[in-house]
């Protein structure tokens, strides 16, 4: 039985454990139909040309973990930004861990999707927002929608800002020899409200894990959201991340994606600008080695006039790693005065590493500023000589240059402790100790 069949049969089991009378279940059933019809995307699909899911489909993933696994905070402390106080929504093998979490209902809701999808008090919100920006067409998003039950639910009412950032962490313990997870997050930030989120998927063993995650984010008028994705998973973990963002007038949403690990990571990051004077920013640093693979697919749909979008992705590829950047920008006919910028710069530090980069611009308005650029290169030999001539050994000199190359992506990280953490991850990934914290 391949993975598609297994998922289809698992859906019936899934239905036994949830309230199928709830209106959300109609959404799930519809989504399941779409997945059944389309199945997993193949490399014949243009959007999946450089990322193959063939091998993954041959793995006999466990869809529902058999038991609840407890993990000690001390064992996973390092995966939290523990230098600062944060709200925490933590899942272990897909199941909420109240022990590791710190949720709140004090003026804001930072809690669980399972509550939001079942309790009556959330029904008005779920009716308005659930599965409203996520694609109903894309099969893996549909697959997640069909199995949507658990994840993070965040609701920030008008004019509110939570006292601290929110960390959403999914741990996989390896109690199952293989595990498939499908977290579903819903985040709503109302007018003039603010939110900072750090999201991480972390396997604690080398057992095979596949995560197919969907996050829907709604930014109302003047809302400000900073979303940080830290992807530094183990060598047998794969992640398909589908993030959909709906922005209204004058909202500012920034998504930073730090991809340093995992076997296969696919980021589908989609922005829909449903208002004017919106600012959407996507930034990424990718540093890969071994046979790791990361595929960044971004979409910005400029639907209304006077909006901006900024994309800046930097990639450093070593050993036999492979990378993809596909940045799609659509500017509708009425979206005049759009400013859309896209930049993707890559350094290949090994002869066996590969990067495929493609801007994809569909512009139907005539009074717009759109620019895109992509580069693929090696480290600058003159710069290397400069650093070496100051006594810095070649390896460290190369690391400093790579850091400098990726640096401007880090400038917009607004949580200093996170920035320090990312710098340390970068130094570690580059295999150097420079005598100061990058």
């Amino acid at each position: 039985m391949d993975l598609k069949e297994k998922l289809i049969s698992s859906f019936m089991m899934f239905e036994n454990n949830i309230d199928i009378e709830h209106p959300v279940h109609d959404v799930r059933t519809e989504a399941m139909k779409n997945f059944e019809q389309k199945g997993f995307p193949s490399r014949k699909d243009e959007a999946w040309k450089y990322t193959s899911l063939n091998k993954i489909q041959k793995v006999d993933f466990s869809i529902f973990p058999k038991e609840v696994n407890a993990i000690e905070y001390k064992d996973v402390k390092k995966y939290f930004i523990n230098e600062i106080d944060t709200y925490k929504i933590v899942f272990v093998d897909g199941i909420y861990s109240s022990f590791l979490s710190e949720t709140t209902h004090d003026g804001v809701d930072i809690c669980l999707m399972s509550s939001a999808l079942t309790k009556d008090m959330y029904k008005p919100i779920i009716d308005v927002y659930f599965n409203k920006v996520a694609s109903k067409d894309e099969s893996l998003t549909s697959l997640n929608t069909a199995f949507s039950r658990e994840g993070a639910y965040i609701y920030i009412p008008k004019n509110k800002m939570p006292k601290k950032p929110v960390e959403i962490i999914h741990f996989a313990t390896g109690n199952e020899s293989t595990l498939m997870l499908q977290p579903r997050n819903l985040i709503i930030v109302e007018e003039n409200a603010e939110l900072q989120v750090i999201e991480r998927h972390q396997s604690l063993t080398s057992n095979e894990v596949l995560t197919n995650c969907v996050t829907e984010i709604f930014a109302a008028k003047n809302a400000i959201i900073d979303y940080y994705k830290v992807q530094n998973d183990t060598e047998n973990s794969s992640l398909i991340d589908n993030t959909y963002i709906d922005q209204k007038d004058k909202s500012v949403v920034k998504v930073h994606t730090f991809s340093f690990g995992g076997k296969m990571t696919r980021n589908n990051l989609n922005f829909y600008q449903n208002g004017e004077y919106i600012d959407s920013t996507m930034k990424g640093v990718t540093i890969l080695g071994e046979k790791q693979h990361v595929d960044h697919h971004t979409l910005v749909h400029h639907i209304e006039p006077n909006c901006e979008s900024h994309q800046d992705y930097k990639g450093i590829y070593g050993e036999r790693s492979t990378g993809v950047f596909n940045g799609k920008i659509i500017v509708d006919k009425i979206a005049q005065k759009t400013n859309a910028f896209q930049q993707n710069n890559n350094i290949l530090i090994s002869d066996q590493a590969t990067i495929n980069t493609k801007p994809q611009l569909e512009i139907f308005a005539d009074d717009v500023k759109c620019s895109h650029g992509c580069t693929i290169g090696q480290l600058d030999e003159d710069a290397l000589f400069y650093l070496q001539s100051r006594g810095i050994p070649k390896k460290e000199a190369r690391a400093l240059l790579m850091y400098a190359f990726a640096n401007n992506v880090l400038e917009s990280v607004r949580i200093p402790e996170l920035k320090t953490r990312i710098n340390k991850l970068i130094a570690k990934k580059l295999g150097v100790n420079l005598g100061f914290d990058l």
């Binding site: 000589f385 070496q388 001539s389 460290e396 850091y403 400098a404 640096n407 005598g435 100061f436």
Partner: protein, 250 residues
Amino acid sequence: MLKITDLHASVEDKEILRGINLEVNAGEVHAIMGPNGSGKSTLASVIAGKEEFEVTQGTVALDGEDLEDAAPEERAHKGVFLSFQYPVEIPGVSVTNFMKTAINESRKARGLEDMPANKMLKLIREKSELLEIDRKFLSRSLNEGFSGGEKKRNEIFQMAMLEPKLAILDETDSGLDIDALRIVANGVNKLKSSDNAVIVITHYQRLLEYIVPDYVHVLHNGKIVKSGGKELALELEEKGYDWIKQEATV
């Protein structure tokens, strides 16, 4: 201290240095002048160990030790310093952090512990005052957005921090206004001692009014075609390089 013997070097099979002989002793200042394309910067890069240039013949020795197999960082650890004509910008790495790394790497190579933080700060303060460098400047990213003058001043600041045995200043005067030139030259002069040596590479005589050379060499077509005292620089300023070229052809 530095002994260059019959040095030939090429880049991509094009010979640029064609038999250089030069001896620099501790306590001396040598100026190397010459028209554009004569090989001045190449000579500086070859001494500092740039891999792009292939030494096809001859030797560069420091304190009697052949540098042929030494990587640029190893040469730096032995006391060679090159002030670059075009210093490279390193975003995200502050001048202070860069200097810490450079100094501690050199110390590591000599088997020494890292310099204690307070000592490092004291040194940085002392040397930045020497070059009249503002404290704020030190927390900026290395060379990023620096003016031409700031870059050069920063090069000499690095030289002051690293205290090299042999400093090579490659066109340090280009892009400097008169005040900056005076500050830079003053810094170099204060660092000068009977134990170290300086090679000043310049196209013009201007810098040599401030850093007075003991010897002046004229480079043309990859060879030293004339050597003399500081008065040679004045003669070149007055008469240009054409007569040297003619003399060399004859």
